[in-house]
Symmetry: C2
Subunit: 250 residues, 2 copies
DNA sequence: CGTTGGTTTGATTAATGTCAACGCACGTGG
DNA sequence: CCACGTGCGTTGACATTAATCAAACCAACG
């Protein structure tokens, strides 16, 4: 399967052949990490940047009362902690949700990558779009009902996995437990269970094995208030009028 | 009063005299914006970067049902939309909560600033620490009770305003309405009102006019589970052992 | 003064959390 | 091959939290 971070970063900048080759090189050295392992723990000082090649991971914090809040899902192509060395100590942990193939990239290698202006731009885009996703999660948890929150997450996962060719038009690999889901959306397991059931009863989604199928994408988006604009996936709309290349018109 | 963004960015890198002079230069051209005005609206294409010199602003989105979710408070020294031009269209709005002095900086000027490696590093630090704050907000809304959420926000505001010398040990300017507070924390106005009362009844805070006084900082932190690590304000802890300068020991 | 924006209060309803039990599939070791 | 343990999903009863509704209140301001 295609290198997911090339697919992803291509949404952020026009990468040259050379850029793509360099990104592919990184893909060479990936390590397989088992399910439910920390890639990096709170309090650690990162020395490597982690890239997800296959599988799902998450950012999380553990609260005073022992509960866990998941703050992000990290999908194939996602960069876990780009430049986080600038902040020093990790203020949160990163753990695998499934078995993952992960590239451990030394910070020096990342630094070299930023020598390419297009990769540099793509990495900025990547950071800013992570932040945009985080903002939307805040809106989701702060402003929507339990069932809408679940629906919104599924819309997002479908869209993001689509960007890296890990989803069909309406289905994707979904191996999370209801506890993972509940911790991601700030609700109890019971509520997660009942929200899932509600979406199934409405005929919006179906779960078969570890596959989640969205039976009516438009309806799920409408129901959850999902607007993909925050993913900033369509680069052409971003170029100012003067920046359009002739070959891009048409 | 001292230029707040110099104070703030100094937490992210060792700025030279020259760096500081350049940042001060930006401060020259500030504009006063009235309360409750959009600095930039959702859907717009930003051409300038906005820096808050005085006053408070916020990032927000309006949901389908008309409710507003505030996703960040922007305080003196905060950069509203650094490099957001890379994403193109704004996926959210930025509005003043009070009258503000704002610097409108053309993106080219920002680009020139990044020529200084230390300013560049400080700007990366700034972006990453914005993201860390966002993560903590998610944890706050996702995992804590209404009263704890309010308490946590006050702890954060105190700490952040302290970094830019806009707060005493335990008090700061607090002009927000209960609606602003409610929209920031994903709760109803009534709940915001009652949470405030609870904190006052417990003797943890006091409001006199537009000043909020934290009567027992430790108690408020313990109650809300506030841990300032996510603000990454103490740069010395971040330098690796080999990077400590002799003049920094002692 | 009357209007406006903001705060406060009580009553009621709706949403969600908690507790406890049960079921089911899967894997392991006797 | 079966018994058992474990992790996960499901369910119902109940407690708690927070949203909603509606009214009153208050201060600032033209």
């Amino acid at each position: 399967m295609a290198n997911p971070w090339t697919l992803k970063l291509a949404h952020g900048a026009d990468l040259s052949e050379d850029d793509i080759a360099r990104l592919d090189q990184i893909a060479a050295g990936t390590v397989t990490v088992a399910r439910r392992r920390d890639l990096i723990s709170e309090g650690e000082n990162p020395t490597h940047v982690h890239l997800i090649r296959e599988g799902y991971a998450c950012r999380y914090k553990v609260l005073e009362d022992g509960s866990r809040q998941i703050m992000a899902w990290l999908l194939p192509g996602d960069i876990c902690d780009l430049h986080i060395a600038i902040l020093g100590e990790m203020d949160h942990g990163i753990a695998t949700l499934t078995q993952c193939d992960v590239a451990f990239v030394p910070v020096e290698t990342v630094y070299e990558l930023t020598m390419s202006p297009q990769i540099n731009r793509a990495l900025w885009w990547n950071t800013l779009s992570d932040e945009a996703i985080l903002r939307e999660w805040l809106v989701n948890i702060g402003g929507r009902s339990a069932t809408q929150r679940v629906a919104h997450l599924f819309c997002e996962l479908l869209a993001r996995l689509h960007m890296v060719e890990r989803a069909t038009e309406n289905a994707f690999h979904y191996p999370a437990t209801q506890r993972d889901l509940a911790d991601s959306l700030g609700m109890s397991v019971v509520q997660a269970n009942r929200s899932l059931q509600a979406l199934k009863d409405e005929g919006l989604i179906a779960q078969t094995g570890r596959t989640l199928r969205v039976l009516d994408v438009d309806a799920l988006r409408t129901f959850s208030g999902f607007n993909p604009n925050y993913l900033h996936a369509d680069r052409r709309r971003r170029l100012g009028p003067g920046l359009h290349l002739a070959t891009r018109r048409g």
